[in-house]
Structures are given as structure tokens and as C-alpha cells.
Symmetry: C2
Subunit: 233 residues, 2 copies
Amino acid sequence: MQFSSESVEGLVEQLTKLPSIGRKTAQRLAAFVLKMPRAEVVEIAEALIAVKDRVRECTICHNVTDRNPCVICRAPRRDRSTICVVEDANDVLAIERTGEYRGVYHVLGGVISPLNGIGPEDLRIRELMRRLVSADDIPDDVPGTNGSATPPEDVDAEAEAIIEAHQAAAVEEIILAVNPNVEGDTTAYYISQLVNPLEVSVTRIARGLPIGGDLEYADEATLSRALEGRGSL
Amino acid sequence: MQFSSESVEGLVEQLTKLPSIGRKTAQRLAAFVLKMPRAEVVEIAEALIAVKDRVRECTICHNVTDRNPCVICRAPRRDRSTICVVEDANDVLAIERTGEYRGVYHVLGGVISPLNGIGPEDLRIRELMRRLVSADDIPDDVPGTNGSATPPEDVDAEAEAIIEAHQAAAVEEIILAVNPNVEGDTTAYYISQLVNPLEVSVTRIARGLPIGGDLEYADEATLSRALEGRGSL
């Protein structure tokens, strides 16, 4: 059943393309948009386009940013000897939210997932290696390219200096903050095999019972992992 | 905590303006938009603007439409002697979905709600009266205007003929399909007081136990209303 307006129906169809928005939700949103002032609707539409037109990738950490390098890589007080490796920009956000982490990031752009046809060559693994050793020292079997020799067009002298400073910083630790599932495990194992020969320690964030969780209702896998990862008091 | 891209952050803020979209959902949507092809994002943005630019109100029933009068009012096989009075366009959709109703609609644009400062003068009640009797026969104390004497600009000769045909049709029944709550009750009572003196029957859709509902768990108000509204078998 359709609205008697094709435009409203068109908006409903467009909105259902987005994740977690079904037809009912889309109809409710469309009805709301109908009542919104035109200027506000234009703002939403412009924000959508701006994301496609203005957002680029940080040359250093590959996080989303409007200004390359991103604010985290630019910040002089972030500890450049620690790199937290995450799947995507949302994970950066989640870790920043804790307010606990002072290092920098490396966004892989996915995890190894043979079922979805995603292999190491689709991720920014060679770019990660490039942050640890000089391009010549990366084994040839590491997938990916060494990146363009010349920096990207939108990088000015100041940005170039920041990129060089990152490259010069000695990395001491790689923290793998991938999800605790098969894809995350595979990705973590793959990266640890590459990085272990170098003088860089590789750690992975702890898996165990969530805070406020209940031992009685925990699944076996979580509980096994929590036991295995027990620490002294 | 914010994305390191102002554009992404801007989109998140814009999306949270919409109902039932909180910050977390907006972040997930923004991350999805980042990965969408630009053309698809432009389609969504254009659909949003189209709703504001192309959607108008049907002169007859006040439903949303791209072409005035709306498809329902244009349909020659719809029974113009029965008018179903609803709060908004979503309710038209809900009733059309049943596939049971063959009459036409009248969209009030809200319900009487003193708490929200909405009185009868804010609804299309005089416009409803206008569909039942000639403008001269509407009591002066009915709020609202008689509408402009000349039809709206976007109406051509064909549309004008349809509007006149609706005006000429003798309305036999007004079905009040307002929600079963205080505002709906008030609105239903107000309209029934206006329409009862005319030779038009006024009915209201039944309130009772929902299909698949359980008598044991029904609230008292619903159960009282279901008892009160019992019908013979």
C-alpha cells in the first residue's frame, strides 16, 4: 500500500536502503519530514552530500577526516609509539569514548573474511607495516602496495611534516582491537605473524565477562576465554 | 566523543533530528553512508528535497499528494458518499492497507489536544463541513474559513470537475477513524456534535480487544469498551 504522493513514496523507498530502517520506520520518518521546515530538510540533504564530497581518508591512520591528516594524527600529545589497530572508523569512536587511550590508530578498513571474499590484500595491512619499518624491509609476500611515493595532492607542507614525524616515530606496541569473533581472530593472527619478527610487541584487547555481566548466563566461549585470560590480583 | 571528520559529525547531528534515531543509530547510519556510492546518497538527498518541493495537499481530502486532487479522490469507483475522517496521512495508509474501505477520506491534520495547544480551529473541520453542506449553511461558530472562493492555482479544468463532483455528491456517512485516546474521543465528540444535526450518519470505528489479544491480559479500559460495544451474533 502506498502513500498517494509519489514523492513521499520515493523517500520511503530511499530510506529503506539504509540499515535498520524498515518500511514502517521509513513511513514514520517520511511523515515527519513532511512536517519539517524546508530549510531543515535541506540541511539533512546537504549533510548527506557533504559526507560524500568532503570526507577523505587520513594518509597516516586511514580514519575518516575532513582535513588530512586527521585530528588524532595531528595532535602532538598523542603517543605515536603505540598504534591501536581497528576495523573501521566507528571502532575509533568507541575507543576514544573510553577516554583511556592516548596512542594513535590504524584503520584496517575491514577484517579478513573468506566467506565475504575479503582477504588480507583488501585491508590496509601493508600500510600498517609501512608505519613500522621502511618500505624496503617489508617482505614481498605482504599484500598491497607501498603507497604512492609522492604524498596525496591535498597535503601541504605542514601536513607533510606530520606524516614524516609519524614515519620517524619508533613504534613500540601494536594493540589489536578487533572484534572477538572468527574474522577478528583470523585478522589478529595474520597481523601478529607479520609483526612478531620485528621489535614491536603485539597485544590484543582482553576478552572476558562484560562489566555488569552474570557468570551464570555467560556463554561457554566467553567463560572459557575469561578463565584462560585470568590475571593475578 | 566525535568522529575525526566534521562532515560525518555534521551528518550524525542532522540525523538525530529525526524521530526514533538516537546518536548510536545515527553513527551507524553515517558509517553506512560513508561506504555508499555517491550516486545513491544523492538519490536519498534528492528524495528528501522532493518531498518538500513537490508534495502538496489534496484540495478535497487534504491528504498528501504530488498531483491535486489525490489519486483516491480522482478514482471514479471510490464511493464518495462515505467519508472516513482521519488524523493524518499515515492513517490513510493504514486503512488503505486493509483493502476493505471503498469510500473517500478527510485528513484533519491533527486532533483536538488542549495540552498541546491544538484546538478545533487548527484542524480542517470547516473544510469537512464544507463537504457536507454548502458554505452558507455552515454555522458561524464552526472555526476556520470557507476556503478561497477560487480554486488553488495548480488545479486545471479536469481537476476542477473532480472537485465539483465531490462537492455535488451527497454524503451519507462520516466514519470517525481517530485513535482511541482522550484526544481522539474529544475530536470525535466535537465533530459528531457538528454533523449530527445534518442528515448524515456519524460512526466511529470499533474499540475492543485486538485480534490475537488475550482477554486475561487486556487492560480494564479496553475490556470495558469491548463489553459496551458488544454485538449480536
